[in-house]
C-alpha cells in the first residue's frame, strides 16, 4: 500500500510517534491511524474494519430490538460462546414505546464506539404522531449507512416455486422516499418529499459496481421509475450510467420498477446485481426474499464508510411469533456470519455458515415458516452439532 511505504520512508525520528517501532507492522498501524481519523474519512472505497481490542477480541454492539429479535440474538450469543468466537457483545436496549429518543441515541453512540453492530428490528408504531420517527431509520441516517446489501440465494433444501435464484440487491439506504420530510400545507393536503442527490446516487452506484467486480458478477441492473419521476429517478439513472462507464467489464442496463417486479415473479434468473433507490429497494428486496423462501432465510447488511450494521434482510419484527420458539434463526445466524466476515474472522464465519447451511440443506431441519416442524432451539442445537462434528473432522 502506498501509505505504508510512505510511513516507512519517514525519517526515523518520527517513527516512534506513530508507533512504528521495530516490531510495528506498518500496515496495521496505518489502519489504526486511519481509524482514528474515522470521522473525517470521505467516501472512497474500502471500508476499514475496526481494530481488534485486547487479546484479539472484538466488541460488537448488540441491539435486541422487538419481537423475535431478542430471542434470536440470544441464540447468536449462545452459538458464539459455544464456538469460542472472539467477539464480545455490548448490549444496548432500545425501548420503542417511549417518545424520547435517548435510547436510540445511546445505541448510535455505542455503534460509533465499536464500529460494528448486530441488531434486531425496532418496532415503529405508525399510529404515533409524526414527531415519533422510525428508530431504525434514525440509526441508518445518523451513521450514514448508505448501502444496504442483500444476497438472495436459493437454498437447495428449501422448497420454493423458483429454483437457483442468485441475486444481489443493493439499495440506497439514507435518502429517497425515506427522508421523513413531510408537511401538511393546508388541512387535508399532505406533501411528502422524496430527495435524490447526485452525491448519494454516485456513491451507491460506485458501491454496486465495485461489489459486482469483487464478486465476479457480470451485470448490474438499475431499477427506477424515470419515465414518471423524470428529474428524481432521472438523476439516479444518470449517475448510474456515469459510474457504469468506468466499469467497461460489467454490463449495465436499467429496468422500470413495475416491470422489474413482474419479471421477478416470472423469470427471476435474468437478474444478477440490482441497484436502486430506497423505496424500490424495499419492494424488490421483499419480493426476492419471498422468492427464495421467506423472511427467515436471508441476511442483510448495512454498510457505511465507517460503520456496519447487520440484521435480517427484510427487517421484520415478527411480533406474532415472538417468544414462541418457532422463529427461523437462519437469517440472523447468517447475518452474524456476515458480521464475522466484516471483522476478518473468516474461519469462524465459514464454520458457522457451513453448519447452518448443512442444517438447512442436508439435515433439513426446518421451522414452520419454510414448511417444517422444528423449533428455533432445535435448529440451533443442530447447528451446534454440525459445528462440533465439523471441528472433529479437522
Amino acid at each position: 500500500m502506498a501509505a505504508s511505504s510512505a510511513a516507512l520512508s519517514l525519517p526515523k525520528v518520527f517513527r516512534p510517534v506513530l508507533g512504528l517501532g521495530r516490531s510495528g507492522n506498518p500496515a496495521k498501524v496505518w489502519a489504526a491511524a486511519a481509524s482514528c481519523r474515522r470521522e473525517k474519512s470521505t467516501f472512497v472505497g474500502r471500508i476499514i474494519p475496526p481494530p481488534a481490542k485486547y487479546g484479539g477480541r472484538h466488541t460488537v454492539t448488540l441491539i435486541p430490538g422487538d419481537g423475535i429479535g431478542p430471542e434470536l440474538l440470544n441464540h447468536v450469543r449462545e452459538l458464539f460462546r459455544f464456538s469460542c468466537v472472539p467477539v464480545d457483545f455490548e448490549v444496548v436496549n432500545v425501548n420503542s414505546s417511549v417518545a424520547t429518543e435517548d435510547d436510540i441515541h445511546n445505541a448510535i453512540t455505542a455503534i460509533r464506539r465499536n464500529g460494528v453492530a448486530l441488531k434486531g428490528n425496532i418496532e415503529t408504531n405508525h399510529n404515533m404522531p409524526p414527531s415519533h420517527k422510525s428508530r431504525n431509520n434514525l440509526l441508518r441516517t445518523s451513521l450514514d449507512l448508505f448501502a444496504n446489501m442483500m444476497h438472495c440465494q436459493s437454498l437447495p433444501g428449501v422448497q420454493t416455486r423458483h429454483k437457483n435464484i442468485d441475486i444481489i440487491i443493493i439499495r440506497e439506504n439514507t435518502e429517497g422516499e425515506y427522508s421523513s420530510l413531510e408537511h401538511e400545507s393546508v388541512s387535508g393536503v399532505v406533501e411528502s418529499l422524496k430527495i435524490i442527490t447526485r452525491y448519494n446516487s454516485l456513491r451507491i452506484a460506485d458501491y454496486a459496481f465495485r461489489l459486482a467486480r469483487e464478486k465476479g458478477r457480470r451485470r448490474v441492473t438499475a431499477v427506477h421509475k424515470a419515465n414518471i419521476m423524470k428529474l428524481a429517478d432521472g438523476l439516479f439513472l444518470q449517475c448510474c450510467k456515469e459510474v457504469a462507464s468506468g466499469y467497461p467489464d460489467i454490463q449495465f442496463d436499467s429496468m422500470i420498477v413495475d416491470n422489474t417486479t413482474m419479471q421477478l415473479v416470472s423469470k427471476p434468473h435474468q437478474f444478477d446485481v440490482m441497484v436502486m433507490p430506497n423505496l424500490y429497494g424495499n419492494v424488490v428486496s421483499n419480493v426476492c426474499a419471498g422468492l427464495v423462501g421467506g423472511p427467515g432465510l436471508v441476511p442483510g447488511a448495512n454498510y457505511g464508510t465507517n460503520y456496519a450494521v447487520f440484521e435480517t434482510a427484510t427487517r421484520n419484527t415478527g411480533k406474532s411469533i415472538a417468544d414462541k420458539n418457532i422463529a427461523n434463526p437462519t437469517a440472523m445466524l447468517l447475518a452474524s456470519c456476515l458480521m464475522l466476515d466484516h471483522l476478518r474472522l473468516h474461519d469462524y464465519a465459514n464454520m458457522i455458515r457451513g453448519a447452518v447451511l448443512t442444517t438447512m440443506n442436508e439435515t433439513r431441519l426446518h421451522t414452520a415458516d419454510i414448511g417444517g416442524q422444528g423449533t428455533t432451539s432445535e435448529v440451533v442445537q443442530s447447528v451446534m452439532k454440525n459445528i462440533q462434528s465439523g471441528r472433529c473432522k479437522n
Binding site: H126, H162, I195, T197, I228, A232, L235, L264, S266, A289
Partner: protein
Amino acid sequence: MICLKRSAPSRHLWKEGLISSICTLVSRVVGAMKSQASHPRTFSRGLQTVTLIPGDGIGPEISTAVMKIFEAAKAPIQWEERNVTAIKGPGGKWMIPTEAKDSMDKSKIGLKGPLKTPIAAGHPSMNLLLRKTFDLYANVRPCVSIEGYKTPYTDVDLVTIRENTEGEYSGIEHVIVDGVVQSIKLITEEASQRIAEYAFEYARNNQRASVTAVHKANIMRMSDGLFLRKCREVAENFKDIKFTEMYLDTVCLNMVQDPTQFDVLVMPNLYGDILSDLCAGLIGGLGVTPSGNIGANGVAIFESVHGTAPDIAGKDLANPTALLLSAVMMLRHMGLHGQAKKIETACFDTIRDKKVLTKDLGGNSKCSEFTGEICRRVQDME
C-alpha cells in the same frame, strides 16, 4: 359561560347511540340499494353505445377480434370508434379531439386498446391526457389465475385498486440546487376518501370478503397516515366487509409466497403501480390481464395494459385476451352479467383446451383462428 341547555346525560347518550345506529342502518340500506342500482343505466333493453378506441400497433386487430366475439355473443353493444390522438386546443393546451370527448361523455363507457407513447411529439402521454380529461381516479385490476396458462402461482384471485390521480405521480419535481432533486408525493383527504369509498363499494358489489389498505405509514407518517385514516373512516360505513392494513413490504413478501391470502387491495398511486404489475406477473403477464379505470361522473374506461407490440402489428399474431377480459369487465360494470359470464367462459375454455392458442400463450395459431374458436364456443353455448 352560560350553560344553554341542560339535558340529563343518560338521555343524551341514548339519543346519540340511537342516531348513530340509525345512521349505520341507513348507510347499509343505501349501500344495498346502490348495489342493486349501481349501474344506473342497466341495459336490459336496447343497445348501449360504447366508445371504442382501437389504439396503435396491434390495437386495431384485437379490437376487431373483440367486436367479432361480442357479435357472436349477441351482446347489446353498439360500438363507436374514435381516435384520441392529441390535438392542440384553443389556448395552446393539449387535449383529446372533441368528437372523442363528446362520444365518451354521452356513452360514459369506453374500451381502449394500447396507445403509443410519444417520445418527441411534444404532447404528454395519451393515457395521462385521458386520465386528466375524465378524472379517472381509480384503476382496478382483477387478477385471476387462468386455468390452462400455467404459471408457478395457482389459485390467485385478487383485485388491486389503485388511486390514479395523485400520490407519487403528481409530477411535481424541482432541482433545488445542482445535484439535489426533490420529488413531491401528494396525498389529499378528498382523493383518499374517494378511492377508499370506491374500493369498499366494489368489494360489496362483487361479493368480496375483505379490503386491505397497503401503506408505508411507519416511514411516511403523515401522507400514508392520512390515506390510512380515511380508509379506516370509510370502513366504518361498511361493517359487512373486513378491513385490514398491511405494510407494503409485508404485502410483497407474502404475495410471492402465498397470494391466496389477499382479496381486495387498495393503495396510493406508486404502490398500486408496482403491486398491480406484480400481481399481473403472477397470473401470466400483461397479455392476459384486464384493467378498468373509473372516473368521476360515472365514466369508466376499460383497457388492455400491454404495449402496442409494433413488431407483430398487422401480422394476425396478436393475443386479444387482455382486451377481451377488459371488455368482459366492462359488461359486468354495465350489469350484463349473463353475457359477461358466457364470453369469459368461452375464452377460458379455449385457453384451457390448448388446441388453438396464440404464440404468446404457447401455441402457434393466428389471432383470427383464436377469435374464431372463441366465437364458435360462444355460439355453441346459446
